[in-house]
């Protein structure tokens, strides 16, 4: 075993950075212990107690930062320190020091005349003004900001439509344009399928399934969640469809949304009839007849949407691994659960993933509660207390007020997870782990200690705790999908291969006892 020590004299990092450095240092491959702490007498006493003190550390002063790494070999120690130094450099570098910053959209547009897109993420109070400026400068707009009034949204979208520009948003979190993911998105293959999505994680899920089935994406255009409402009238979805229909590289179009307002659905279906290209429609919880009547291809699940799109784009269906449901696994899990363990608890970072799993459960159960249930009778009375089958969209405003979105910081889910794990009526806890641009760099790692602890509790109580995990990502994403999946499996978590399968498996696991 080797221990290496570095003391950074008179070095101050804020607490959040120090804790984050310490957590990351402990996750470096080969590191057994890593400590990043101020050189106070009391902290040195703790180092003595745990056998990590060295003569050098004894000399550290209260304003010094102590870094201690213990690893199996000198080489591992050395390489861990190189990684830690890199982390320090990142923390020390002023934000955006290598980028040119522009104070206004006008000056940016003037300085970069070839730019054709503005991504706007400012306080909602100023977002509409900035979006209008961008449109006036002939820029397409991705409007990440929320809290934009519906009146402003309508006005902006009409203005964009008149100018032949896209206004994606407000509250648009996902887009892939020219193979570049913006805000939250995954690394997917370039291909011939175009997506217009009114739901962020739903669009991410369909894009990664397309990638998994061997297909690829031309463009993923986000619309913002309100686009298909009666008031907005689907302006962006209609313009997005039109843009993809005119795009030579796009062979198939996929539409993703929660069920639109009736009048908007009519407009969308009418446009499907006009499209030169096949259109797959995945309106979560929607019905088949009207889509088929309009000449579209109906998909009941995100997985089916991706599969249909890939086949329509020319793939040979017989060569695709469709990730069929593992029926023997269902039987195996059912046998482990007691009759009392009859409820599903879904803890989701992705809203659409929660929606999909919830709709799948509702096909067999009536008592499905959620913070995003449309039926008021099944909306949770107390968000902090689950009822029977409960599905929580933890990224909804109910849970994120003043806190980061769980896709950015999944640790906000830990407390609720431990609460559910203690409930003896729980048969399965299902969770998503979202990889990709914008998401947390190790969503599984954040949850692992809690998962291990919960499994230990259940074992002590003599019950089986079934945890079902779904990792949304591709083999091109960072962190590596395979590593994330392996970490979960090592902790005894069952892995679902898609959002759809996560919904189906969680439902089927508890069918017997329900």
């Amino acid at each position: 075993m080797s221990t290496k020590v570095v003391i950074k004299q008179s070095t101050y990092f804020d607490s959040v950075s120090l804790m984050s450095l310490s957590t990351k240092a402990n996750q470096i491959e080969g590191v057994e212990q890593a400590v990043v702490a101020m050189g106070t007498e009391m902290n040195k006493e703790v180092l003595r107690n745990v056998g990590l003190i060295t003569p050098e550390l004894e000399e550290a002063k209260t304003s010094d930062l102590m870094i201690v790494v213990k690893a199996a070999t000198d080489e591992l120690c050395e390489s861990a320190f190189v990684a830690i130094e890199e982390l320090f450099k990142k923390k020390s570098a002023p934000a955006g020091s290598s980028e040119i910053k522009y104070a206004t959209i006008d000056s940016a547009a003037k300085s970069i005349p070839e730019a054709n897109l503005a991504v706007i993420s400012v306080n909602g109070a100023y977002a509409a003004r900035e979006a209008r400026k961008a449109l006036e400068n002939d820029l397409h707009v991705m409007l990440f900001s929320d809290n934009v009034s519906i009146e402003d949204e309508i006005a902006l979208k009409q203005f964009a439509h008149e100018k032949g520009l896209l206004l994606m948003g407000p509250d648009c979190g996902t887009a892939i344009l020219g193979n570049v993911a913006l805000c939250f998105g995954n690394a997917v293959r370039k291909g011939s399928i175009g997506i217009v999505g009114a739901s962020g994680t739903g669009s991410q899920e369909v894009s990664v399934r397309i990638h998994d089935f061997g297909g690829g994406i031309t463009q993923l255009i986000g619309t913002g969640g309100r686009d298909l409402s009666e008031q907005v009238g689907g302006i962006m979805m209609l313009d997005g469809m039109k843009a993809l229909d005119e795009d030579d590289a796009t062979k198939v179009i996929v539409l993703i949304s929660k069920p639109p307002a009736t009048s908007v659905e009519k407009k969308v279906l009418a446009q499907i009839k006009q499209c030169k290209k096949p259109v797959v429609v995945y309106f979560i919880g929607g019905t088949e007849e009207s889509v088929v009547a309009a000449g579209g291809h109906f998909a009941k699940t995100s997985k089916e949407a991706a599969l249909k799109a890939v086949v329509l784009a020319g793939a040979d269906e017989s060569t695709i691994n469709k990730r069929a449901l593992n029926i023997p696994l269902v039987e195996e899990v059912r046998a482990k659960l007691t009759p009392e363990q009859k409820y599903i608890r879904g803890l989701f970072c992705g809203g659409t993933l929660c929606d999909e799993a919830m709709y799948i459960a509702m096909e067999k159960f009536d008592n499905v509660y959620s913070n995003i249930q449309k039926n008021a009778d099944y909306q949770l009375k107390d968000l902090h207390v689950s009822q029977e089958h409960t599905f929580l969209d933890l990224g909804d405003d109910d849970f994120t007020n003043g806190k980061p979105h769980p896709m950015i910081d999944p640790s906000t889910r830990i407390v609720r997870f431990l609460q559910e794990a203690k409930d003896p009526s729980v048969g399965v806890i299902v969770m998503d782990f979202i990889l990709g641009f914008g998401s947390h760099e190790d969503p599984v790692g954040v949850m692992l200690p809690a998962i291990i602890e919960a499994k230990q509790w259940a074992e002590k109580e003599g019950r089986h705790l079934e945890i079902l995990g779904y990792v949304l990502g591709t083999d091109l994403d960072n962190p590596k999908m395979e590593d994330q999946v392996n970490k979960l499996m090592d902790a005894g978590v069952t892995i679902a291969s898609s959002s759809t399968n996560a919904g189906l498996l969680s439902r089927e696991f508890v069918v017997k006892g329900a």
Partner: protein
């Protein structure tokens, strides 16, 4: 030139008198600390995202990360302007005054008892682990050992105080100083919360303000200057605005107001907010325990004076 938005009364008065020259002690994204050569105290310049606090001037910048300010840059004050080298000039003409005044301990403690129970429940659910709140089991021996020592010493401190075993209490308090992860070690943050409660007028524990002053005297050199300054000010009843807001909410706030104020404190630093809140809640529990056993003169209602226009 950047405008100051608000600042603590004592700091503004010192700056006004131009009794201030010093150097940049430390630079963070949201704050910079300046060492004052006249009195050896640290003063903080904070961006507008930060709340008012002792020895702090809040200025109209979003971040210090890109201003090019470095440690040891000279700081001079003249004609109501703060000059940091040639990199930043801050005008104080329109800064509003803020003063930290700890609210009085209530005569009727029923609501306080209920709110303390709610606060404990909320912290159980939403507090940050790693300091006073035990971390989840892991292989990280240092963190586990720190947490055990924090819990053991804080409990021994509180028990000793209640038994009037002041020598043991003093020893335990000093052994909390500098203990724990983070820039402001968790033990220091806990003491900040506890000392704040001792400074509540009418508090059954107000006799212990001398105790906190002695601990702070001993603490110099046991922790870094930034954390020491926060403890020193707390021992005098001077703490940041969000902590005062939480105390007001605990004494007289609705559940919604309490949770909003508590979340603001929990969001301080990494585990610092949870550690401070733990100190506050343990201090209040001692007060509730001791309440009624001693007789104290009643003081008039003592609300914080906040944001007086300043010219």
């Amino acid at each position: 030139m950047i405008q100051a938005i608000s600042g603590e009364l004592g700091m503004i008065e010192r700056l006004q008198r131009s009794e201030f020259s010093g150097y940049v002690h430390s630079v963070f994204d949201k704050t910079i600390n300046v060492m004052c050569l006249e009195n050896g105290e640290l003063y903080t310049l904070a961006c507008h995202r930060v709340d008012n606090a002792p020895n702090t001037l809040v200025i109209d910048v979003n971040s210090f990360g890109e201003l090019g300010i470095n440690m040891n840059d000279s700081v001079q004050v003249a004609h109501n302007r703060i000059n940091i080298g040639s990199k930043l000039v801050i005008a104080m003409d329109h800064a509003k005054l803020w003063e930290s005044i700890v609210p009085s301990y209530p005569t009727d403690v029923e609501l306080l008892k209920k709110n303390v129970a709610k606060m404990n429940r909320h912290m159980d659910m939403h507090g940050t682990r790693g300091g006073m709140k035990k971390p989840l089991p892991s292989h990280r021996m240092f963190e586990e050992a720190v947490s055990s020592m924090l819990l053991e010493r804080s409990e021994m401190l509180l028990t000793a105080l209640l038994r009037h075993e002041m020598s043991t209490a003093f020893d335990m308090a000093v052994r909390l100083v500098g203990l724990g992860p983070g820039l402001t070690p968790s033990g220091d943050d806990f003491l900040v919360g506890l000392f704040t409660i001792f400074n509540m007028p009418n508090s059954p524990c107000s006799e212990w303000t001398d105790f906190s002053a002695r601990v702070v005297q001993e603490a110099q050199g046991l922790t870094n200057e930034i954390s020491y300054m926060a403890m020193k000010k707390a021992s005098l009843g001077r703490v940041r605005e969000s902590i005062l807001g939480l105390l007001h909410a605990l004494i007289a706030g609705s559940q919604e107001e309490l949770l909003l104020a508590l979340d603001r404190v929990l969001n301080i630093g990494s585990s610092s907010g949870t550690d401070i809140a733990t100190g506050l809640v343990r201090g209040l529990e001692i007060n509730i325990h001791r309440g009624g056993k001693i007789c104290l003169p009643k003081l008039s209602s003592n609300k914080a004076r906040i944001l007086i226009p300043y010219r």
